[in-house]
């Protein structure tokens, strides 16, 4: 009997040790530097508040941590969309002026791997900027660092919240350097394929309400890219007047 108990205690300790190693995995580092920060091309900066209550609407299955907003919005409870959220939010330019709005659909990715430090979300943005045109952004986001640095500490906090300063890129692909893929739709962006990076800046997180002091920033590089070869290909400047 004591050998069985030793085995079970050992298994528990082994499982706990692995969890600790994965949580503090030194090979998973914060991604604070955007690959687009060194670009010579023109960039478009768009920012938004990640708090659900600051969005025009935010909806999910209605049972997740973040409550839909407004309260009576249709919820995504059907099995095929239960792990999906939709957000419509106002977007602001680099000077803080209203620039347009964006629709973001996010779905938990089946490629999520906790062993690799990847909590992946497949998301797309449908963006309309009245004075410039429209964009479609495809990206895979990795929320591992966000969860490790903000969400877990919030749960461990006696006040069930987290306060601090955290900045990190959440875009994880599909670009070779961890960039999102952008397809221009209409207006200035018509017919152009570009790249982008989305970053989150967090100051406060509540277990009850989710991100309450978190803002997002999308940086779009206005330079034509060949999609198949992504960053490895020669780039061409965007034609004037397009």
């Amino acid at each position: 009997m004591k050998y069985l108990a030793a085995l079970l205690v050992g298994m528990f300790c082994g499982a706990a040790a692995l969890a600790v190693v994965l949580y503090y995995n030194p090979f998973v580092v914060s991604n604070n530097l955007s690959p687009l920060s060194v670009t010579d091309s023109e960039v478009v900066h768009l920012s938004y508040s990640a708090a659900a209550s600051d969005s025009f609407i935010y909806t999910n299955d209605g049972e997740s941590q973040i409550s839909p907003h407004p309260a009576k919005v249709l919820q995504l409870w059907e099995p095929t969309v239960r792990q999906t959220s939709a957000r419509v939010t106002q977007l602001f330019d680099g000077r803080g002026s209203a620039a347009g709005f964006g629709v973001k659909f996010s779905s938990a990715s089946e490629r999520t791997s906790l062993l690799d430090g990847e909590i992946l979300v497949d998301s797309v943005w449908h963006i309309y900027l009245p004075e410039r045109g429209s964009l479609f952004i495809e990206q895979t986001e990795n929320y591992w660092n966000y969860a490790r640095d903000i969400v877990v500490p919030a749960y461990r906090s006696s006040g069930n919240n987290w306060r601090g300063i955290w900045l990190g890129n959440i875009t994880h692909g599909p670009g070779a350097l961890g960039t999102a893929w952008v397809a221009g739709g209409n207006g200035q962006f018509a017919g152009i394929d570009m790249e982008a990076v989305e970053a989150l800046s967090a100051k406060a997180y509540s277990v009850a309400d989710g991100p309450v002091g978190v803002s997002g920033e999308i940086t779009v590089e206005l330079q034509r890219r060949e999609r198949a070869q992504s960053l490895s290909s020669e780039v061409q400047p965007v034609p004037q007047g397009q």
């Binding site: 692995l18 999520t112 449908h126 009245p130 410039r132 209409n186 200035q188």
Partner: protein, 191 residues
């Protein structure tokens, strides 16, 4: 007993490691794709949104009755000529398979009508529609970009309002039908 404990530790590490490796953390529910093969055209798939039941949001200025209730859409000049809508999207079997956004606007950059269909287990498509309507109220468009399952596809799409004629008490007013005809272009690396 120490040896048993150490064996237990190793077993615990191996068991949790194997579980994390082999058991998927995320398993999206899938509906069977209902696709017709159109000779010399490609694969045709029909989606629809029942109106009003599948409409999640209408974002437009000065609405008498906002949808959803409580929506505070800005009433500024910047968005005066634009309209954003969100829907649940169903397949031909009337099962919800995803969500979609439709943006319509007219501005200095011209008129635009666009759709993004997001099917969680399959990918997303970005459709650019023509501003004018065809006979029968059909609007034609083209696939601008796709992700995952749709990444290697090119093709056309159409949207059409189809009023309900069943007369049933619980029937919707009608549906917006999206007919997508996509074919593989091949050669491009998948994401």
């Amino acid at each position: 007993m120490i040896k048993t404990f150490i064996a237990g530790v190793l077993l615990g590490v191996a068991a949790v490691g194997a579980a994390l490796y082999f058991i998927p953390v995320v398993d999206q529910t899938r509906e069977s794709s209902l696709i017709n093969v159109i000779p010399n055209v490609g694969n045709e798939e029909v989606f629809h949104a029942n109106i009003p039941t599948d409409r999640i949001m209408i974002g437009a200025p000065k609405q008498a009755t906002p949808l959803p209730v409580g929506l505070d859409w800005p009433d500024d000049a910047l968005l005066a000529d634009s309209r954003a809508e969100l829907f649940k999207i169903r397949n031909a079997r009337d099962a919800v398979v995803g969500v979609a956004s439709r943006i319509a606007a007219s501005s200095e950059t011209g008129e635009l009508v666009e759709w993004v269909l997001h099917l969680p287990a399959r990918g997303s498509v970005y459709l650019l529609m023509q501003s004018g309507l065809q006979d029968g109220g059909m609007r034609l468009g083209a696939l601008r970009a796709g992700t995952h399952e749709f990444a290697d596809l090119r093709g056309e799409a159409s949207e059409q309002w189809i009023a309900d004629t069943s007369g049933a008490d619980d029937a919707p007013a009608g549906r917006i039908e999206l007919r997508a005809r996509f074919a593989s272009i091949g050669g491009r690396q998948s994401q």
